[in-house]
């Protein structure tokens, strides 16, 4: 039982990550793929915070001495475990992953906005946001340009002939 509790969080986060990846791979619509991307980013955040949680720990905000919450929190843990994990009378979760994920979320929104702006410009340039149609129109445009290049070359060769 305890090994299940120990790894269940990691497995759930991995399933969410793979779900986000699947959404990115399977849809051809650019906007839906951005949604898949933000699911993936959120699940990375979930993974970091899973590793930061200390059993019986509380929010990493220092509690001052006279706060009644100290006794309340201490009463919930068995003493043997309490000595090893506590810092001056309170067990705190690890604050470091919180800092990383906090900025990752805000930067994630900035990149989401830039990605959506690109999608809007792709829509205005190609008239669609579906991946296949964009590739098809690209091929047509390349074929068109290469045909024009040949025309220019033939005219150039005739001109100097």
């Amino acid at each position: 039982m305890s090994s299940f509790v120990g790894y269940a969080n990691y497995f759930a986060v991995i399933i969410l990550m793979m779900g986000g990846l699947y959404v990115i791979f399977s849809t051809s619509n650019l906007i839906k793929r951005m949604i898949g991307l933000s699911i993936l980013q959120t699940s990375v955040g979930l993974f970091y915070i899973t590793t930061s949680k200390v059993f019986g720990g509380t929010v990493p905000i220092l509690i001052d001495e006279d706060d009644p919450a100290r006794a309340e929190l201490a009463s919930r843990l068995d003493p043997a475990y309490f000595e090893s994990a506590a810092y001056d009378g309170v067990v705190y979760s690890n604050p470091l992953p919180h800092v990383l994920i906090l900025t990752a979320i805000v930067v994630g929104v900035a990149t989401l906005a830039v990605g959506l702006a690109i999608a809007v410009r792709v829509r205005e340039a190609y008239g669609t946001v579906e991946r296949e149609e964009i590739e098809r129109k690209d091929r047509i445009r390349h074929a068109h340009e290469s045909y024009e290049d040949e025309l220019d070359e033939t005219e150039a060769s005739e001109a100097d002939a």
């Binding site: 305890s2 979930l46 470091l96 800092v99 979320i105 805000v106 906005a113 579906e130």
Partner: protein, 365 residues
């Protein structure tokens, strides 16, 4: 020390319940055909993950995810859907098989790799026992700020946060370069370009209740943003969250009173200026520290040492107050507030303001 064995307590049970909900929403997002439902479910997904962060003692992260995930990213996604005019998705089973196999393969590999990770909640895990423990113990005498996350974010890792603020600013510039600042749409709308829905607005809806409640709420949300900003060291909060909350207040004003009124209130030039001002303020504090003899962002040197020694209870004269750190953190959080709020507002103007061009789109192929 007893060998740590994770056992079920209320915290873990609630955590599993929320993870189950997240998986259910994920399945719904994967299966849905309508893009609008996907955006709405994305809002619910980020909301549940915000609550999950609360359950796992990550107050600041929950704050950011709740504010950013539901408020701002939903507005951007809706703006993008409006501009790209795609609302339903075509799904063919051929392009489901291969991605499914790849994801299942990668998932199995990750499962195998996860078996070596420390058990969930283990205090003696290397991350929690050494590095995390250092910051829990040293914050009181280095920075003297109760909220360890804000102390690490602003003081220990101040240089990285400056980098992140510049990344948000650069994101704003990127969106502005691609979508403009939304001014073009504020010109008078020629009748030919007006979308039919605008007429429907004229007589049938008058939304009196919505407008009066919005008039009441917008100043409260803006005030709450400053509360979150200034009590960032004591409780959960800080520059990022406050900036996004302020942007959400402006977005609410734009949603109800129209983008034209909001642009009269907060012109795009002001948003551009404040975005740059925030980054200037942040790096200015660093330069002041260097002038006073410290490193680039070492707030102990924010004030000249003689002046700080004279302050009541300063750590230089026997007390334990780090006045330089307190004021340094408040000022750079203010810089982050300006940049994040102005950038989010500029991005919303770019997305919402561009609609008029696309309405008359047919010109470009």
């Amino acid at each position: 020390m007893t060998e740590y064995a994770p056992h079920l307590d209320t915290n873990t049970i609630v955590n599993f319940g929320l993870l189950a909900m997240l998986l259910a929403v994920l399945v719904a997002i994967v299966r849905t055909r309508s893009l609008l439902a996907a955006v709405l479910l994305m809002g619910i997904y980020s909301l549940i993950s915000a609550v999950w962060f609360v359950v796992l003692d990550a107050a600041d992260v929950a704050f950011t995810e709740a504010v950013v995930g539901a408020g701002v990213s939903t507005a951007f996604l809706l703006g993008a859907i409006l501009l790209t005019r795609t609302e339903s998705l075509t799904k063919r089973w051929q392009d489901m098989v291969m991605p499914g196999l790849v994801c299942v393969g990668a998932g199995v590999l990750l499962f195998y790799a996860a078996l070596d990770l420390p058990l969930f909640g283990d205090p003696s895990a290397p991350a929690n026992a050494h590095v995390g423990r250092f910051y829990i113990e040293e914050t009181k005498n280095d920075v003297g700020v109760p909220n360890i996350v804000t102390a690490v974010l602003a003081s220990y890792r101040g240089f990285d946060t400056l980098g992140e603020t510049i990344v948000v600013f650069a994101g704003g510039i990127g969106v502005a370069l691609m979508l403009g600042f939304g001014e073009r749409s504020m010109g008078d709308l020629p009748p030919a370009l007006r979308s039919p829905v605008m007429e429907a607005l004229a007589e049938s809806d008058h939304h009196v209740v919505l407008r009066s409640v919005a008039k009441l709420l917008i100043p409260i949300i803006a005030l709450y943003a400053f509360y979150v900003q200034f009590h960032g060291e004591v409780g959960a909060g800080g520059g990022f969250q406050a900036g996004v909350i302020f942007a959400v207040a402006v977005i609410l004003h734009a949603l109800i009173f129209g983008l034209a009124d909001t642009m009269d209130a907060i012109p795009p030039e002001l948003a551009r200026a404040f975005a740059a001002l925030g980054v200037l303020l942040y790096s200015g504090v660093g330069v002041i520290n260097m002038i006073n003899g410290g490193n680039f962002l070492d707030y102990d040197h924010l004030f000249p040492l003689a002046f700080e020694a004279g302050l009541p209870g300063s750590h230089l004269s026997g007390g334990y107050h780090h006045w330089g750190q307190h004021f340094g953190i408040i000022i750079i959080e203010l810089g982050v507030l300006f940049t994040v709020a102005a950038t989010m507002i500029a991005m919303f103007y770019a997305f919402a303001g561009r609609a008029a061009d696309v309405v008359g789109e047919g010109a470009r192929g």
